[in-house]
Each structure stands twice: as structure tokens, then as C-alpha cells.
Subunit: 316 residues, 2 copies
């Protein structure tokens, strides 16, 4: 990192994108940033993407990596029914990272800052053996923050979007499987997680609990159950999948249901709520909160299903 | 990181240290933390410590490493005349890190959270090749934040504490030099940077600009000059050193003045201010802001001195 100051000088203007009103009071280049977050409580979360653990250069471009790192962190803010408003980014850059790759990484982060609303207020550059992107996102709750701890027996469980696509996309890449048909959509889904600004706003009024689906729906629902001191019944056949998902899973020898329940990095929002048209409009109903503890997965007939794998596995 | 959840369960209580009033509204274990920062602007900064770049296990214990990582980040907040109030910590843990080392790291972070006031509200654990500690610290300005950009010609330049001790301590460790006499103080000074709560409060009323001395006094003063569009004269003989500093430098073949001006990681506060008893009480006067640009280092007779090295060098 002999050219740390040159890098900072270059990246400064990359994050200077949407006019005076969104600027930090003090931005990149001082000891710390000064930002205005709006009155009331502040949301803060941090996420790390490590080369060889969370990504490999042959599977994702530096631009998509930057985009993904920021959206993955913002996802935790949306899951609190809050809006991302600022971020700081710490990068550990290996000596052999090309300038062009560094530039792409910054462009991807800047793009995600625009998509999420988490303007980049500051950061840190250092050397390192592995490329590491650590993103801290700050935000403001829309109303009361929605935690994992508020689910009540009788609540329905909903999930936005579809599940399993990101894990399938990663599997296609790792298996160097043909990228015909819907494959590009699954790959894109892994490389570029969805944004959830409008959903986060809606959660504030309808959700009793919420979590982002990062470790796999089953494991993340288990976190909600533990925090809320309740149990859950998950209807496997109700899990929403993207077009072509099942066929492509089967062609790769993957069990579609297991992958949708345990594959990580979908970054959809799962929430519990009283059944209502508003909740139905926001997500697909996939189960119900019950008394007790633990998550029971059932088939269409209500019979318990056993799944082998649970949760996201890192590369290493 | 197969035991991520067990680790989080263990560390939760380590940061639960000083009663209800200081607790985050939502702390460790949800998607994000919710904290109350007080009304007005929020200060945010991030710092990373990477194994092999910023530290080596043979030179610092995991406990001191945790302490140091948090204080180094808090240092940027104090340098804005602000008080650290919360933090999030992202750890990349290599597979061969012992549980005992992990526990020490957390204890060191928790100790620094108490010393600095930056209570740990959340974080992230992941695997990684190199141990990496990324600390984001949030804070609230005492009054108006003090940036690097407010120095005016005629202002005096002050520094808290002493300079060069941390670099000397590191040199003693790297050279496996005898740890007799004052050596333990220098080593401790590198491993455990100072805290600056009261100084940060005082800066709010007296300082026109401030910076923390992390890259070496000369380079950090250059940052102030650039941001403020001014020049500076630094009086080398006025730089404050700790007892025994010069003798020990010379016994190691190090130039005491050059090391004090360019050695990194002192984490003292350097500030510019009108001369006053309050400023004198807070730091040692080491120079003056002038019209122009750049930093001119002079000897007792006012003659310019050339220094070979500038700024902190990473291990790699």
C-alpha cells in the first residue's frame, strides 16, 4: 500500500454522486466522517467479504464484488425495517491486485451506494494477503426497528422474492455448468443481491419480526424462533422459486427444496406478520409461527421432512 | 468458522459491562444493532489491523491487539473533538487461531470499549487466511467537529504526550533488543496506545484543526497543511520525548529526531490553536502555521533540517 494517498485521492470523487443534500458534513479525507442521520436511534451493521472464503476472482468481477459487499451489509439494515443512509468501507488490498481491479471494486461500491442509499462517508485502505472488503452500513429506522425477537404464535411467515437462486447460480459457476437458458439469471442473482428499500418501509407497519436470508432460510428462521422464543412450521412446497429453478437444480443433481431452504446468500427478507393483504403483497406465505421451539419442515400433506444440510457453507 | 454461533454466544456477555444506561437498544445477535447516539451529527471512522501488515503474533498478544485495534480507531474520533460512543467489530479468523487467542482478542476489545466509551454494539465473524480486526467507531462531537482543514497562519502547533516512543518500542521488539531500563515503557506504548477523552473535550473549545498522529507527526502535519491550505514550521528540538528515549534510540543506531517525526502509531493528538494557557496545558508547542504550503523542519537556530524517512512503514 505504498500508494495509499493516491488511491484515496482517486476514489474520493467516485462517491461524490448525488449533490449537496446527500453529502456528509465531513467526508473522505479527514480523521473521521461526520454525517447527519436524522433524529432518533441509529442502525449499524458490518459485513465482511474475504477472498477465498466468500468469493473467488474466477467467479465474480471486482465490480460485482463491490456491489455485492455493500448490498449484503445494507440487507441487514432493511431487515430491521430501516433505511440505509451512510457507510464506511475498509479494504485490505493484496499487492498483486491490479489498479484496474481496484477501480472496478470502487465503482461497484459506488453503484451499490446509489442503489441502497448508503452513501460512502469514509473508509480505510490497507495492505493484506487476501482481498477483504468490510462494509459498515448505518441507517435510520422507518418507525420502530423490527428485530428477530417479535414473532408470536399464529403469525404467518413470509419471504420476499424467490429462494435458492443465488445458491444455484453459485453451483452453476463452481461446476462450470452450461450457462444456457435461465442460468445467467441465477448467476446474476448470486453476484448481485436484490435491494429492498420499499419492502423495508412496508415491514415497519406490518412485521412482528424480520431477518434477511443470508445463511439459508431454515437457519435464519431458526434464529427468529430462538430470539422470539417460539417454534415454526415451514411448508416446503410453498417456498417460491424462480422460473427454471427446479429443472436446472435437477440437471446439476441438486435437490431443489433442500437448496432453497439451506442455500445461502439469497438476501431476501423473511418476516412474520398477521395475515393481511399488505403482507401477501410483500411476500409469499411459507409457514406459520407456533408455540414451542425449533423449525419443523412439512410437505403438502403436513408430514415432517428431514433435510440433510442446513445453512451456508463457506468455500473454506 | 464452523463454530460461528458458539463464538457469538460466548462473546455476547463480554461486552455487557456497564449497566442498562449504556446498552444498545438492540445489541449483538440481531441483523443490525440499534443505538442512541444523542442528537446532532454522528462521527464515524473505521480502522483495520491485518496480521503480517500491522502486527505479528510474536510481537503482540491477542489481548493487546484487540485493545490496540479499538483505541486506534477511537483515536480518529477524538481527533475530531468528539467522544466515541459505540462500535462494531468485524473479525476474520484463520483456522489455526486458538480458542484462547480468540477469547483474549475479545477481552482486549472489551477492555478498550470500556476505556474509550465505544461500547460494542455488533459485529461480524468470518474465516480468513490472516487474522484481521476491523473496528468501526461511532461518536458524537462535543461541539462543532474539529477537522484537519481549519488551521490558520499564526496558529501554534501542539502535540499531546510524547512522540517516537511507539516506534522505538516496535524497534526494540523487532531487533530483540534488551528490555532493560525504560524499554518496557516503550514497548507498552506501542502495544497500548493512549486514550484521549479529556483532550478531545478540550479540543472542541481551543483547536482550529486537529489530527491523530498515526502515520508520523511530519506526514500527519502535512495532511493538516494540505487540508487547511497553509504551511508549517516544525521545531525539531521542541518535539517532546519520553524519559530515556534519546539514549535508547542511539544505542539501537536510530536517529531520535527522525524517528520522533516520522515513526508511526504514536496515536497522540496534534492540533493547531491560538496560543493560550489552555492549549499549553493540553500539549507541547512544537511549531507554527505559516502562509504557503508544506512543512519546514528547523533546528534551534531556525535552520532547515532534511529528514530521510517520512511516515509509517508497514511490515510488508
Amino acid at each position: 500500500m505504498h500508494d495509499e494517498f493516491a488511491k484515496i485521492e482517486w476514489l474520493k470523487n467516485r462517491f461524490d454522486f448525488d449533490g449537496e443534500s446527500r453529502k456528509p458534513i465531513v467526508g473522505i479525507g479527514d480523521d473521521a466522517a461526520v454525517i447527519e442521520l436524522g433524529a432518533g436511534p441509529t442502525i449499524v451493521t458490518v459485513d465482511t467479504q474475504v477472498e477465498g472464503v466468500h468469493f473467488r476472482h474466477d467467479l465474480i468481477s471486482c465490480r460485482d464484488l463491490g456491489y455485492r459487499a455493500m448490498v449484503a451489509a445494507a440487507s441487514d439494515v432493511w431487515a430491521m425495517a430501516a433505511m440505509p443512509s451512510a457507510s464506511v468501507v475498509a479494504l485490505s488490498l493484496p499487492a498483486d491486485l491490479l489498479d484496474e481491479q481496484f477501480h472496478e471494486l470502487i465503482e461497484g461500491l459506488a453503484e451499490a451506494a446509489r442503489s441502497t442509499g448508503a452513501r460512502v462517508a469514509g473508509g480505510n485502505l490497507s495492505g493484506g494477503e487476501s482481498l477483504t472488503v468490510t462494509t459498515t452500513v448505518l441507517g435510520s429506522p422507518v418507525a420502530e426497528p423490527v428485530t428477530r425477537g417479535g414473532a408470536r404464535p399464529g403469525d404467518a411467515i413470509y419471504v420476499t422474492g424467490t429462494l435458492g437462486s443465488a445458491a444455484l447460480g453459485l453451483a452453476i459457476l463452481q461446476n462450470r455448468a452450461p450457462t444456457t437458458g435461465h442460468a445467467p439469471n441465477f448467476i446474476e442473482r448470486w453476484r448481485r443481491p436484490p435491494t429492498h428499500g420499499p419492502a423495508a418501509k412496508a415491514l415497519a407497519t406490518i412485521a412482528t419480526a424480520a431477518v434477511d436470508v443470508s445463511d439459508g432460510c431454515l437457519q435464519d428462521l431458526q434464529h427468529v424462533c430462538t430470539a422470539s422464543n417460539v417454534g415454526a412450521t415451514l411448508r416446503a412446497h410453498a417456498i417460491p422459486n424462480a422460473p427454471g429453478y427446479k429443472t436446472r437444480c435437477e440437471s446439476l443433481g441438486l435437490a431443489p427444496t433442500a437448496l432453497a431452504l439451506t442455500g445461502g446468500e439469497d438476501y431476501e427478507l423473511m418476516f412474520t406478520a398477521l395475515e393481511s393483504p399488505e403482507a401477501e403483497a410483500l411476500g409469499t406465505k411459507i409457514g406459520r409461527i407456533v408455540d414451542g421451539s425449533g423449525v419443523r419442515v412439512v410437505d403438502e400433506a403436513g408430514q415432517a421432512i428431514e433435510l440433510a444440510a442446513t445453512g451456508f457453507r463457506h468455500f473454506s
